[in-house]
């Protein structure tokens, strides 16, 4: 019996060590979210959907504001405002005062794609990583790997580099993407078609999500300054957003009042480049990040 237990334990240790080594290979190439669950708890955060994840670059904020900040934004499927994102933000936050929080808002992040837009149990983020990963500051994060990378473990060993790389500060960099006018136009066309024909008909404003945005601001306000920003998007995407919520600023008025400032950058939509109409290209993202950082620095809250 002892021999059996000894050998079983030994073989388990050997194999678990090998698996651990493989897991430790997980990095910014693994997927678009993993790294955000491996960094320490944060004092300052950038929050929002993929527009913020790709568009807002923490290094720019750090240079201008002289403050460490981490991008904890995901996608419109993963991190629209709601219970799941709120709880995850609380887990990631280190509960220290003096923080800075930049929250990217748009009509999609306070809307739902389900028959009952206010029914929490129907929210699609329930089945994704933010809800499945309760520990958000472990490296390597076995919990994340086991619950979210099922069926993809071989990619940890034989990594295929894509055009996405998630930096340690949470910024999702998209590179090696064709930015000639034809390629961009084709991607924009595809994205707009998806949003116009697929997403828009299914999406409805959710008062529950709006309440969670307010709840999130209230929570963060206890620990620092909270700024709301609406990031620029392609002109045609803006038209779709107007169809979804023409009076967006009015809808989030209560959230704006609670915050330390709201910067709507959509009037400058035409000034920037987009990879697909929905996301800023990294060079434009850098410019936008600089503008927001300076706006915060100058405390120029109401443009």
């Amino acid at each position: 019996m002892k021999r059996f237990i000894f050998k079983t334990v030994l073989i388990s240790i050997i194999t678990l060590s090998l698996i651990l080594v493989i897991m430790s290979r997980a990095d910014g190439h693994t997927d678009a979210f993993y790294i955000r669950f491996t960094t320490p708890k944060q004092q300052s955060m950038i929050l929002g959907t993929s527009r913020a994840a790709q568009g807002l670059q923490p290094t720019v904020f750090e240079q201008i504001l002289k403050k460490d900040i981490n991008n904890f934004s995901f996608t419109v499927s993963h991190s629209p405002f709601g219970k799941v994102y709120f709880e995850s933000i609380k887990r990631k936050h280190n509960k220290k005062a003096g923080g800075l929080f930049i929250i990217s808002v748009d009509p999609w992040s306070i809307s739902s794609q389900c028959s009952l837009p206010n029914n929490l149990s129907q929210f699609r983020e329930n089945q994704f990583c933010l809800n499945k990963t309760k520990i958000v500051n472990l490296n390597p994060n076995f919990f994340y790997i086991f619950s979210n990378l099922s069926g993809k473990y071989k990619n940890l060993l034989f990594q295929r580099h894509t055009n996405m790389f998630l930096h340690k500060n949470g910024w999702l960099e998209i590179s090696n993407i064709k930015m000639d006018s034809n390629s961009v136009a084709a991607r924009v066309k595809r994205k707009l078609e998806t949003y116009r024909n697929t997403n828009l008909p299914k999406t409805k404003f959710s008062s529950t999500r709006l309440q969670y945005l307010i709840k999130t601001i209230n929570y963060l306000k206890e620990y620092g300054d909270v700024y709301l920003v609406r990031l620029p998007i392609h002109e045609n995407m803006m038209e779709i957003e107007k169809d979804l919520m023409i009076d967006f600023d009015l809808m989030i008025n209560e959230a704006i009042k609670l915050s330390d400032g709201y910067l709507d950058m959509t009037p400058q939509n035409s000034l920037y480049n987009y990879t697909d109409g929905n996301h800023l290209h990294k060079y434009s993202g850098k410019k936008v990040s600089k503008i927001i950082a300076k706006w915060i620095l100058d405390n120029n809250k109401f443009i």
Binding site: M1, F4, L18, Y153, K154, L156, L157
Partner: protein, 487 residues
């Protein structure tokens, strides 16, 4: 609780240690621990249905005791039928109620009478088909005086609910498993190691082969109208390996687990895809169910002893009932019927026992004739699985008609989920190739890696085990439920 879950990985060592270190002095305590662990294992999924198992256990235990003392034949028949009706009643209600209701309504509407009866939202209790058959075998064997009823309720409860084989078999006979609960189990090192090896192989089959094949089989079957004939053939082959890896993998884990506790269960799969005809396939596929139907249905009906008409009738009955056992859908009935049609010519020409021994025994490669027979049998099996996997008969026929088209000769491809790119999943095809090769090498054992690994030096064996565990981790597919849980 699923075998391929973290929960089970924690549960099993705890039960193992309690069993051998805390309860080892007392047989009753060991059996009680098995019952408690089994109820926990089952209740992990849904505790409400524990009452069904407990009810079946109490009924059959008492009927068994009464059958022993009852001499009056009429009363004995009443007791037997009480057990049959209670057990099949539960099974019928939970599994077939809505099916019969829907068909009843359809039949009436066909004759112009519209009836409105609401179907019930019934959850099928996991494993009900398995433990029902296991307890039925107990009562029937006592009725036939092949078995003495037990006086030990705990042993009987352990027999009915034994967690490794509770939810998806193998369906053990009381004559084989129940006596093992009466005698003190001793820990045998070689047996436990063998059990671990079988668990490892079972996990490989389930997690690597079945789950990966499931991903593509589901993709192809669920979007069958979008794919060419050649891709649909690949889809059917993926399902063929999915169901084998899934079910035989479960059986391997179950059997291996029982060996850790000092038990022996019978082999449930004996390399069925190396069969040279359908009769051989059915002697090698889900052996515990096939033999159950043989002993408790086919033989009581007269088996193959009567005239041709009786042979034909009995063959169809056993295969159709077997199909229906799998699920409340006409597609399972067609699957059973198809197998009866495959089997019948062999039975009527007395060729159904032509291939008893293992194929190419003692040889590395089969003869050309053997290879051809295996290939032909495999094609028939794959074809039949289409009915088993399809949503309904209509879907099966449209799937088959799409195969029989000029696109059968085109290059197969699958639309990758997420990217939308056309791909051929080479990695899983390679894994299937390796799997078939290892199964072929180990086809004279109870499971593929039972014997040939033992011939290797220790360091190589250890390396193999470690690499297998790492391989299972790396090549695990998207986690899927065991297919046979739904039966």
């Amino acid at each position: 609780m699923l075998f391929n879950s973290i929960d089970f990985a924690i549960f099993l060592p705890i039960v193992f240690l309690l069993y051998w270190f805390v309860a080892n002095k007392n047989l009753k305590l060991q059996n009680f621990l098995i019952v408690a662990a089994s109820y926990l294992f089952y209740g992990w999924w849904d505790w409400r249905f524990l009452s069904l198992i407990l009810f079946s256990t109490v009924i059959d235990y008492n009927i068994g005791r009464k059958l022993r003392i009852e001499e009056n034949q009429t009363n004995r028949i009443i007791l037997l039928w009480t057990s049959i009706l209670v057990n099949l009643g539960f099974l019928g209600f939970f599994k077939y109620y809505n099916f019969f209701l829907d068909n009843f309504i359809t039949a009436f509407s066909f004759f112009g009478t519209e009836i409105k009866v609401n179907s019930l939202n019934i959850i099928l209790p996991v494993g009900i088909s398995f433990y029902t058959f296991q307890t039925l075998s107990y009562t029937i064997d006592i009725y036939k005086r092949k078995l003495e009823p037990t006086k030990d309720f705990i042993s009987f409860s352990a027999f009915v609910s034994f967690f490794p084989q509770l939810v998806a078999g193998p369906i053990e006979r009381a004559t084989h498993l129940l006596p093992q609960f009466y005698i003190k189990r001793t820990f045998v090192y070689s047996k436990a190691v063998d059990g671990m090896r079988q668990i490892l192989w079972g996990l490989f089959k389930k997690i690597v082969i079945a789950d990966n094949c499931a991903e593509y089989a589901n993709l192809i079957f669920n979007n069958s109208t979008d794919y060419s004939g050649s891709t649909l053939v690949i889809g059917a082959i993926f399902f063929t390996f999915q169901i084998y890896g899934d079910f035989s993998g479960y059986s391997d884990i179950a059997i291996g687990t029982t060996r850790l506790f000092g038990f022996d269960l019978k082999q449930n799969f004996n390399f069925p895809y190396f069969s040279r005809d359908i009769a051989e396939f059915w002697r090698r596929w889900h052996i515990s169910l096939s033999t159950w139907f043989r002993d408790y249905l086919y033989i009581p009906l007269g088996g193959s002893r009567g005239g041709t008409l009786m042979k034909v009738r009995n063959t169809f009955i056993i295969f159709i009932v077997s199909g229906f056992w799998h699920g409340a859908n006409w597609s399972f009935v067609v699957w059973g019927t198809l197998n009866a049609i495959y089997f019948l010519p062999l039975l009527l020409t007395n060729k159904n026992r032509n291939h008893i021994d293992i194929v190419a025994k003692g040889k590395l490669l089969p003869s050309f004739k053997e290879l051809l027979l295996m290939l032909l049998t495999f094609i028939l099996i794959v074809f039949a699985w289409i009915f088993f996997r399809a949503e309904n008969i209509g879907h099966a026929f449209s799937y088959i008609s799409s195969i029989i088209s000029p696109s059968l000769l085109s290059t197969p491809y699958i639309i990758e989920a997420g990217t939308g790119r056309p791909i051929l999943p080479k990695t899983i095809l390679l894994l299937i190739g390796i799997f078939v090769f290892i199964e072929w090498l180990g086809r004279d054992g109870q499971y593929a890696i039972e014997k040939f690994v033992l011939k290797w030096p220790k360091y190589l064996r250890w390396t193999f085990y470690c690499l297998m565990v790492v391989g299972i981790f790396l090549y695990s597919g998207q986690k899927q439920d065991f297919i046979y849980f739904q039966f």
